[in-house]
Subunit: 166 residues, 2 copies
């Protein structure tokens, strides 16, 4: 056999192996382990995020987004990129009595570990003219894995409460 | 050489090959072609979706979502699953003078072609007590590839217009 044939033999055998059920199961189990690792990483960043909100650290929050990441907040035009996102967070956090927390409902990681969906709920409160105002709602964050670090590429949320007519 | 060694030789050479630049370029180009194919498929479903909205076909719209898909509309609790999503769309489309269109800004497909981010803008109008009311906003749809068919797994949007205080 020539080297070329040896390589082909290896490649073909490799291909055939992928059709085997025990190998499939191992692949599936390995993939589940990788997905779980990514999910843990995203949960950890979310926890950091909550801490940064409590600290009113808009600059550090903006760094959780991809360079081309977008914040799609209700009642405002889309904010794209670090500077616009930092400004938007600073504005939100300057609301008197501002408090925000969120909770993850679902994380789904793409099989190559390069994209993830994160869906959940939030609870926001602020000081209104007649006392504390509370709002609950839901969010979606799409994460992109950039060189092993998960960054928010799209972050959008809205309120469960009825909207104005227009 | 034993068979085992042949296989190892193939595997190791395969690993080394992945470091080669021409192979990388071919992989990248093939991956771009696959991503473009997926993007085209998602754009085509979006076009169908707009047609179904014009036809007020809530049942067909609900079929564009994954079985565990979620619609996160402002001013309403989350709707999960086909039946809740159909009902939510039927409710929205019963608004007097209802018209809705949307336009894709960005589609990003995960490298394994199993998940995609779709971000864009929408324009909604209805008949208000004082004439037509128009609202513009933004949306994110996360798509999941289920056996070769793209289905919406999370669909969320919000208005650019200022919200009520609480």
């Amino acid at each position: 056999m020539t080297i070329r044939k040896l390589l082909l033999a290896g490649a073909v055998t490799g291909l055939l192996f992928t059709g085997c059920s025990p190998a499939d199961e191992r692949n599936q189990s390995a993939q589940n382990a990788v997905a779980a690792k990514h999910e843990t990483a995203i949960r950890s960043i979310s926890k950091q995020w909550l801490g940064l909100i409590r600290n009113r650290d808009a600059a550090a929050i903006a760094k959780l987004y991809a360079p081309d990441g977008a914040l799609l907040a209700p009642g405002a035009p889309i904010a794209v990129g670090s500077s616009a996102i930092e400004q938007a967070w600073r504005g939100m956090m300057e609301t008197p009595g501002f408090a925000l927390s969120f909770e993850i409902t679902q994380i789904e990681v793409a099989s190559a570990g390069d994209m993830a969906l994160d869906r959940g709920t939030y609870r926001f409160s602020s000081s209104g003219p007649n006392g504390p105002v509370t709002d609950t709602g839901k969010y979606v964050v799409v994460w992109r894995n950039i060189d092993g670090e998960w960054k928010a590429v799209a972050d959008i949320f809205n309120s469960d409460a009825a909207q104005p007519a227009g």
